[in-house]
């Protein structure tokens, strides 16, 4: 990558992209590709889906470059595109068979927690595995807020902006997501 792009802010790179500078956009992809893939993987639980949707989000961002408002941070704008794509994907029931099978196996088999351990988690133990499996059982609205707070470590304000909901709703949704998570974990340990 051209060194002059390394010094540029995201917003400057987007301005260059607006003028059809594809190298500037490539620099943005290099900055945000990993983040996009990682967030999609946490929300979808399937590596192939995560790759598809993170790449699709990048393409959408490129296609929408002329509509980008430089007043808004690029990262938040891009994450919004990605999250909306993921929501749509889940809502349309397009989650890949691999993930569906894993969840199904979990519902069907007794003590199948170990079988659902994702191979992308660095270190695992039984407690982590059961918490992760429980997170994957949440609805997309609950899962996304848990992922954004627990794994992406976003502030309530950032989550509110990203999900386009009031600050109070962030705390309320987080409360119900955690309560649901607790219920799932409780029912599993019985």
């Amino acid at each position: 990558m051209d060194d002059r792009y390394k010094e540029c802010s995201d917003e400057t790179l987007m301005e260059l992209t607006k003028n059809n500078d594809t190298q500037a956009f490539k620099a943005l992809v290099e900055r945000y590709g990993r983040m996009a893939y990682s967030l999609a993987l946490k929300l979808l639980g399937d590596p192939a889906d995560a790759q598809d949707l993170s790449q699709e989000a990048i393409i959408r961002a490129y296609k929408a470059r002329k509509k980008y408002d430089p007043e808004r941070p690029f990262a938040a704008w891009f994450k919004t595109i990605l999250i909306n794509l993921i929501r749509n994907h889940v809502k349309k029931g397009k989650v890949r068979g691999n993930y569906k099978r894993r969840i199904q196996a979990e519902h069907n088999a007794v003590g199948a927690d170990l079988a659902v351990t994702p191979d992308y988690i660095l270190e695992s133990n039984r407690r982590k595995e059961s918490v992760w499996a429980a997170i994957n059982k949440l609805s997309i609205e609950h899962r996304e807020i848990i992922v954004l707070r627990h794994f992406e470590d976003l502030s309530y304000e950032d989550i509110a902006e990203l999900l386009d909901i009031p600050l109070g709703s962030v705390m309320s949704r987080l409360y119900y997501a955690r309560k649901k998570l607790k219920k799932i974990l409780g029912s599993e340990s019985e």
């Binding site: 946490k42 595109i81 749509n88 191979d119 309320s172």
Partner: protein, 148 residues
């Protein structure tokens, strides 16, 4: 304390985002509310577990192919657009000639021509209606794919 305030304080304390005053306020309430205390403990425990979950990073070779993957997707998208346009033109051309041959034929009875004409009109109305509904549903979708 209202239920909303209770949830708000609980979330802030669990996430260690509460101010000193809010922590004191929460500590006061927790003394007399065992449900709140139990929720606090379980939420904290979940938070502690998730804080220790770390994800594997993918090898550099994967990321080298990432940009190529995006380029390929863009290329395929353009390919599909051209293919679709070509297919629509061919289908329209074929349908036009098929219908012209049918309606101009002297051997086909008039009643059959009228029947096919009315049926075709109905089919066109149905297709237009479905397409309009699809466009409307897309515009009013709860989660738009992209918000700018």
């Amino acid at each position: 304390m209202s239920e909303e305030r209770k949830k708000e304080l609980l979330m802030k304390v669990v996430d260690k985002l509460a101010t000193e005053d809010e922590e004191k306020e929460f500590a006061e309430y927790i003394k007399s509310d065992s449900v709140l205390e139990e929720e606090y403990k379980s939420f904290r425990e979940i938070k502690e577990v998730t804080d220790t979950i770390k994800f594997k990073d993918l090898p550099d070779s994967y990321w080298e192919g990432y940009w190529n993957g995006i380029y390929n997707r863009l290329e395929r998208g353009i390919g599909w657009i051209f293919f679709s346009i070509g297919a629509i033109i061919l289908l329209a051309f074929g349908a036009y000639h098929l219908l012209m041959d049918f309606f101009l034929s002297e051997t086909v009875p008039l009643l059959l021509k009228i029947g096919v004409a009315i049926g075709s009109l109905g089919l066109i109305i149905l297709l237009v209606s479905i397409i309009r509904e699809m466009i409307f549903a897309r515009k009013h979708e709860r989660y738009k794919e992209v918000r700018y």
